[in-house]
Amino acid sequence: MTWSYLPHTAEDRQEMLAAIGVKETMDLFADIPEQIRLRRGLNLPGPLSEPELAAHFAKLAAANANLAEYACFLGAGAYDHHIPSTVDHVLRRSEFYTAYTQYQPEISQGYLQALWEYQSMICALTGMPVANASMYDGATAMTEAAILACGATNRREILVARSVHPHYRSVLATYARDFDYDVKEIAFADGATSASELAALAGRSTAAVIVQNPNFFGSVEDLAGLVAATHAVGALFITVAEPTALGVLEAPGKLGSDMVVGEGQPLGLALAFGGPYLGFFAASAKLMRKMPGRIVGQTVDKDGKRGFVLTLQAREQHIRREKANSNICSNEALCALAISVYLATMGKEGFAEVSRQCLQKAHYAYDRIVAAGAAQPVFAAPFFQEFAVRPGKPIAEINASLLEQKIIGGLDLEEFYPELAGCMLLCVTEKRTKAEIDALAAGLEALL
């Protein structure tokens, strides 16, 4: 039996064993006690040749409804946007994707520069002075921001808007529990975070207030007001930003956010059934040395030439061990590269245009559906690319019917919000055409 990923011939192995001075490879495993060894072969499928592999995966792929064939009106934290061809062409360059972390900067200048440019673009979008080179995803980025806030303020209470993505709140709860942090939810009113509820909850023990914008329902929050109420009690304000919206919405940094985090998937990453995605993480200059994750910095070499290195490493686990501000090691570097290529490809004007089209198309869809009486409005807050409606039939039934028409319908909000039973969260990005939106509206009308 031979495998193409294993280069040794029988002669190679013999020569190497002779050089080492043993008879067979298993002699090298002498340290493993006999009684714990596996005395049978692994019970696994395979081996498959390359054509067999391709065929096997083609069959598995065919068992899924993919978005090349279905029009997707599902958002809720993962978004179907146009991805320019440039992105994958860069990702396919194996000098990037087969590399490890840039601990040898002299032979990693390409990646370091790309990550530094990524950090720069995240700063430009969020209006913050510092960004790291990525976290696992939006949920963990938000959670680590909350932990940072508790450390920086020496307080233990975290206020998180109930309109923050339910998965993010779930991850926060998982992490917070073992720290004994006190997590409280801020209620929403008419689809947006209630300022009066925030004012009532926030106090001198509050470390952080976390608000998503646009929030899980797509509503645009009044950040400035919420930031003021947060700072009034000496807490830090964390914005979970939906990045595409930053083409039209004011940069959260300009509105006083202390940290801006979020899910980078909408910026050129394939939906890929939930990952790999990327958590972006930006902060104020004051918090820079407390940030988790890798950071690329600019410097010079011995001859004064510009170069880039991983910097502020003394924060990280490989140096600070149990005192590190996070345990993160691997990040989502390749996704950061993809996002850089996406943002540079869309460019200053193109990115703003994507954002504008999402806003326009979502409102066209909303008007079309509500005007026809296919569903009732749920909230009155202004929204970006997602909105909730109440169609008057069970959501699962509607979605099953839409699926037959090659449409992936909205999210059944009851799954995460029992109080919103019967409501559906729809998402319309720039990728949806007028014809697709009209088909969705017609599909909903037909079920009336």
Binding site: R289, L312, Q313, A314, I319, R320, K323
Partner: protein, 128 residues
């Protein structure tokens, strides 16, 4: 390796200079050499009360991080703000411009627990 004769030393490689009931504190030449290029010093907060062995500050170099423990108990009377902008002072002038803080000595008896320059020199050679 410089070990000025007039100073007192701790086994954690801090030096202490006693002046009118106050103690100027820094890290020794040996300590800065071990750390390498210092890149960041968390400037302590003036007014804080410390006991012997409490964390005074943290010093970061490119590839290491080191906690500095207070060699004496007392209140922090003064801190070296300059280190915030110029952490390299610790490398360049550990016994001078690289001082970290001035403590109001709470209990002069604690000075007896420190090493003289001779004793510190001996301690270093034993460590090596």
């Amino acid at each position: 390796m410089k070990i000025p004769a007039e100073l007192l030393y701790s086994k954690d490689h801090e030096w202490v200079k006693v002046e009118d009931g106050r103690a100027v504190v820094g890290i020794t030449d040996f300590a800065q050499d071990q750390l390498g290029d210092v890149v960041f010093v968390e400037v302590p907060e003036a007014g804080a009360e410390l006991g012997v062995g409490d964390g005074l500050t943290t010093i970061e170099s490119v590839k290491a991080v080191s906690d500095v423990y207070s060699p004496l108990g007392g209140k922090i009377a003064q801190v070296n703000e300059e280190l915030g902008d110029a952490p390299q002072l610790i490398n360049e002038d550990p016994y001078g411009k690289g001082w970290i803080a001035v403590l109001e000595i709470a209990d002069a008896a604690e000075l007896k627990g420190l090493l003289t320059a001779e004793e510190y020199k001996k301690f270093l050679s034993e460590e090596a």
